[in-house]
């Protein structure tokens, strides 16, 4: 029972939150926190659990954003349906990349992601008859208010968490961990490493594209610099590292910390804002590489261990 108490309390708070808080800025902030939590959870499934670092997830984010927006503008298809199409498209895009790079030992995947994201961006930028090029795309349809978007992104983020949770708590979770720790040993024990990595990349790309579609519908304007920029990829990494890489709740905690901070810094100086992402990565990797969640957990267990020790010594 106690194990379920905290999640259900959090669930109730998240559900009634928009009814209690009427301030538009705070609602917007919560939408962004949830969006980055979704992105972080998706990136973490591949980067944290499987140990395959991607610097190019912006490619999937942008693909989701452009697909749903173009389907809406050209064919009048609802972006909530277009979201699914975009996600499937991103998934298909991820397959050849994964197949080509995951067969090989070594950091080929990480190396190729940068170039991959760049080429997708270049294509979208130059194919202006379809994508509007650097001018971007404007959505003039009314897609609903911020409260509606809040509930949608809440549902999407919870869905991503459930899928990620199902992945890592099943046999798969052990497979992924085994691949991260020692791929050769994992394969020797019969883990189909290449196939697992390709599948996890596909799931990760799918959910990141959903986040991209959501972002486009929420902002009502996209251009290549906004949705294909490396900053998008970096932000997913930052929320994951700060919260706790390779933990389920880490990216959520990370988003809760990073997104408000980032909004604050943006109001101070738009140029200095990206600086803090780099700073956070370096500082956390240097001093708290396990992130805040694991750091707090370790602190708590140390304390309970200390208390237990006291009990033992008292009873002796």
């Amino acid at each position: 029972m106690r194990k379920l108490a905290l999640p259900s309390l959090a669930g109730v708070i998240l559900l009634v939150y928009p009814l209690m808080v009427r301030n538009r800025f705070f609602l917007h902030l919560s939408v962004m926190v949830l969006l980055y939590a979704l992105l972080g959870v998706s990136w973490n499934l591949l980067g944290g659990y499987t140990g395959q670092i991607s610097f190019g997830h912006a490619a999937f984010f942008g693909t989701g954003a452009y697909t749903s927006t173009l389907l809406l503008l050209r064919f009048g298809i609802s972006p909530w349906l277009g979201m699914l199409v975009g996600a499937v498209l991103a998934l298909l895009l991820s397959l050849p990349l994964g197949w080509l790079t995951f067969r090989l030992r070594g950091p080929y995947f990480a190396l190729s992601t940068l170039a991959f994201a760049e080429i997708v961006r270049v294509i979208v930028y130059n194919w202006d008859t379809l994508t509007g090029g650097g001018d971007g795309l404007n959505i003039s349809t009314d897609l609903g208010g911020v409260v509606r978007f809040y509930y949608i992104i809440l549902a999407l983020t919870v869905a991503a968490l459930l899928v990620a949770g199902a992945c890592v708590r099943s046999r798969w979770g052990y497979f992924l961990n085994a691949i991260r720790e020692d791929e050769d040993a994992a394969e020797a024990l019969g883990v189909p490493a290449t196939r697992m990595k390709v599948i996890v990349l596909a799931i990760s790309a799918f959910f990141v594209a959903i986040g991209g579609s959501f972002f486009a519908s929420y902002q009502l304007y996209i251009n290549p610099d906004l949705v294909y920029e490396s900053q998008i990829s970096i932000q997913m990494i930052v929320v994951t590292i700060v919260g706790g890489i390779g933990t389920l709740e880490g990216p959520v905690v990370g988003a809760l910390i990073i997104v408000p901070l980032s909004e604050y810094f943006r109001s101070l100086s738009p140029v200095a804002n990206p600086l803090i992402y780099g700073l956070f990565i370096v500082v956390f990797m240097l001093f708290l590489p396990q992130g805040i969640v694991s750091g707090v957990q370790r602190l708590l267990t140390r304390r309970t261990a200390a208390v237990a020790d006291q009990h033992v010594s008292a009873s002796v």
């Binding site: 610097f55 950091p107 080929y108 170039a115 294509i123 490396s230 990494i237 780099g278 370096v282």
Partner: protein, 291 residues
């Protein structure tokens, strides 16, 4: 069929490619010795470019002076980055950790440069960089020629250092087999630092040499980082000669391909080469097979 434009772009490609070689050698030495992919390699190039730009603009110093200043500066910078950041993270978080921390460092440095030097595209005065030598209808840009010459000297010196000096031998031994090298009395920690400093210095000096040829701006590093990855994979990861050969080859391929495709897609050539190598010869031209 007129061949001149093809020969011209091959010449240009070869000249620029020699600089790609220097960049890729720096990256591949660091990877070969300590299995670290330095994601901040591009930003080191960017810093070298700004160094050359400001050395000329503020003090009227030419390339040779800038090169001589950059060598000790970047050696020290590399040693500092290694002992302050990379070594610590590698011990605690492994390959994943060093990938992430150097990427964070890259992002930090690029945006700090943006804050300090603004996003302007800068270049040296054009009188300096557009003079060319003509021979049989082919033009040889003077600053490109000079950069090529300097790159060849740098490459040769680095190669001779690795082959004939004790420190170079220790670096190669560590790259081949870390444990065996340690057993033979190689101070692994010191060799790591030396390799990182050497790789950093090559990046910085390549930046100095690139300045007359390319625009200088805060985010320029990423462009060269991607090119360096392509070259390193093309040559074979960890192979010094491969990096040299791969750089020249990639320079030519990129330059010639630009005759056939719209200029907007120039940076896409790299990825195509990258994917083709992974598809058909993943170990690269001179690398050991790692499949």
């Amino acid at each position: 069929m007129k061949l001149t434009p093809y020969i011209q772009s091959m010449v240009n490609g070869l000249l620029v490619g020699s600089l790609y070689s220097v960049i890729a050698m720096g990256l591949t030495i660091i990877f070969g010795v300590m299995r670290v992919i330095n994601m901040a390699h591009g930003e080191l190039i960017m810093l070298g470019m700004y160094l050359a730009f400001w050395a000329f603009t503020l003090f009227g110093l030419g390339q040779v002076a800038a090169l001589l200043i950059s060598l000790p500066l970047f050696l020290v910078l590399g040693a500092v980055i290694y002992s302050g950041v990379v070594n610590r993270v590698q011990r605690r978080a492994g390959e994943m950790g060093t990938l992430l921390v150097t990427a964070g460092l890259a992002y930090l440095v690029a945006n700090a440069a943006q804050l300090v030097w603004k996003a302007d595209f800068r270049s040296l005065p054009s009188a300096l960089i557009t003079r060319s030598l003509f021979w049989r209808g082919i033009s040889f840009n003077y600053s490109l020629l000079w950069a090529f010459l300097a790159a060849v000297i740098l490459t040769a010196v680095t190669y001779l250092f690795l082959i004939y000096t004790d420190a170079g031998r220790a670096i190669r031994a560590t790259a081949q087999d870390r444990e065996a090298a340690a057993l033979m009395g190689v101070q692994i920690h010191r060799i790591n630092m030396l390799a990182f400093a050497l790789g950093t210095a090559l990046a910085g000096m390549a930046g100095v040499l690139l300045t007359p040829v390319f625009y200088v701006y805060p985010y320029v590093g990423r462009v060269f980082l991607v090119k360096a990855f392509v070259v390193v994979v093309l040559g074979g990861m960890g192979s010094i000669l491969g990096a040299w050969l791969g750089g020249l080859l990639f320079g030519v391929v990129e330059s010639v391909a630009c005759l056939f495709i719209p200029s907007g897609y120039r940076d896409a050539v790299g990825l195509v080469v990258f994917l083709l190598v992974l598809l058909f010869k993943p170990s690269g031209l001179l690398g050991r097979s790692r499949v």
